[in-house]
């Protein structure tokens, strides 16, 4: 078992192996994303019953919630990849971390924008300084910070490490930020507006949501892999296997 793990680790560290194995994965990931998205959206938009309070505006949930969940876990993945790079100096991990940042930020932005749009019909306003919303906004800023720092540092290796350190510091802070924001909001304001928190959801609503969540993760993997493959090609451009690839 241990041996196998070590072998896997070394393989993961090999850019060539990564490129070749993902070449085989990509068609599957594309297929899964398309099918999942089609099924989820058809079920969600056409077959799920309208919410008794919010009417059809609740159908935004099928993008809002998956995006929000993903944005949070993507940051964690970025930080973990960064830590792997810092500790074991595995270049692949740095490239993965750099690829995650813009994708995670995009999903964060989607969650924020769809949430804001959803707020208008539900709460009558685009934005309130609710705890969830605020902490999501801060998460977006954290993403931007990591990206800006990576861009600003000229030396490649230093920029990877700086990004990793910042995402780790951010990771430690996310729970603190989240907790403090929640605490702050409940203190200042009696909960006038709340995200709908119904204990149980109708299965016709729930199933498409679950499908969409899984699909979003698959799609995220696809995007990160696409970006990482570019990094691999760029960094290995002088190696023979990339040259062979270019010849063909």
């Amino acid at each position: 078992m241990w041996q196998w793990l070590v072998r896997l680790y070394h393989r993961l560290g090999s850019p060539k192996w990564f490129y070749e194995i993902t070449s085989r994965w990509i068609p599957w990931l594309v297929g899964l994303s398309v099918v999942g998205c089609a099924v989820g959206l058809v079920l969600g938009l056409l077959y799920a019953p309208a919410d008794y309070q919010q009417g059809n505006s609740f159908r935004i949930i099928y993008i809002h919630v998956p995006a929000a969940l993903l944005a949070q876990s993507a940051f964690m993945m970025m930080a973990v990849a960064g830590a792997v790079f810092l500790i074991w100096r595995m270049k692949m991990a740095a490239w993965v971390a750099r690829s995650i940042a813009p994708v995670g930020a995009s999903f964060c932005l989607i969650a924020l924008l769809t949430g804001a749009i959803w707020g208008k019909p539900t709460w009558g306003t685009w934005w309130v300084w609710d705890a969830r919303l605020t902490s999501m906004l801060l998460l977006l800023f954290l993403y931007f910070g990591v990206m800006a720092l990576q861009r600003a540092i000229e030396s490649e290796d230093a920029s990877h490490r700086a990004g990793a350190i910042l995402s780790l510091v951010g990771l430690v802070n996310i729970p603190i930020i989240k907790y403090s924001v929640e605490w702050w909001n409940t203190l200042h304001q009696p909960a006038t507006l709340k995200l709908t928190e119904k204990p149980s959801m109708h299965p016709d609503m729930l199933v498409p949501l679950l499908i969409m969540i899984v699909t979003t993760y698959v799609f995220f993997a696809l995007l990160v892999i696409l970006r990482t493959r570019n990094e691999v090609l760029w960094h290995e451009r002088k190696r023979s296997w990339v040259r062979d690839l270019l010849e063909s």
Partner: protein, 69 residues
Amino acid sequence: MEFNSFAEFLAMGRHGLYVWLSYGITAVIVVINVILPMMQRRRFLKEQRQRMRRERRNQTGEKQHASST
């Protein structure tokens, strides 16, 4: 099926604007995210192929130069 007609589907019971705006924005961001790495890849391949062609030309040029002198 929750909707009886396509128009009703579009209207989303008065919330059409919000729902379709959300889905539209999401679609745009997703498409950008798909297209950017693909464009990047295409640019990379083009540049590298050019570079390799240039290098090869230089090499053969040098060889010819060497043989002529």
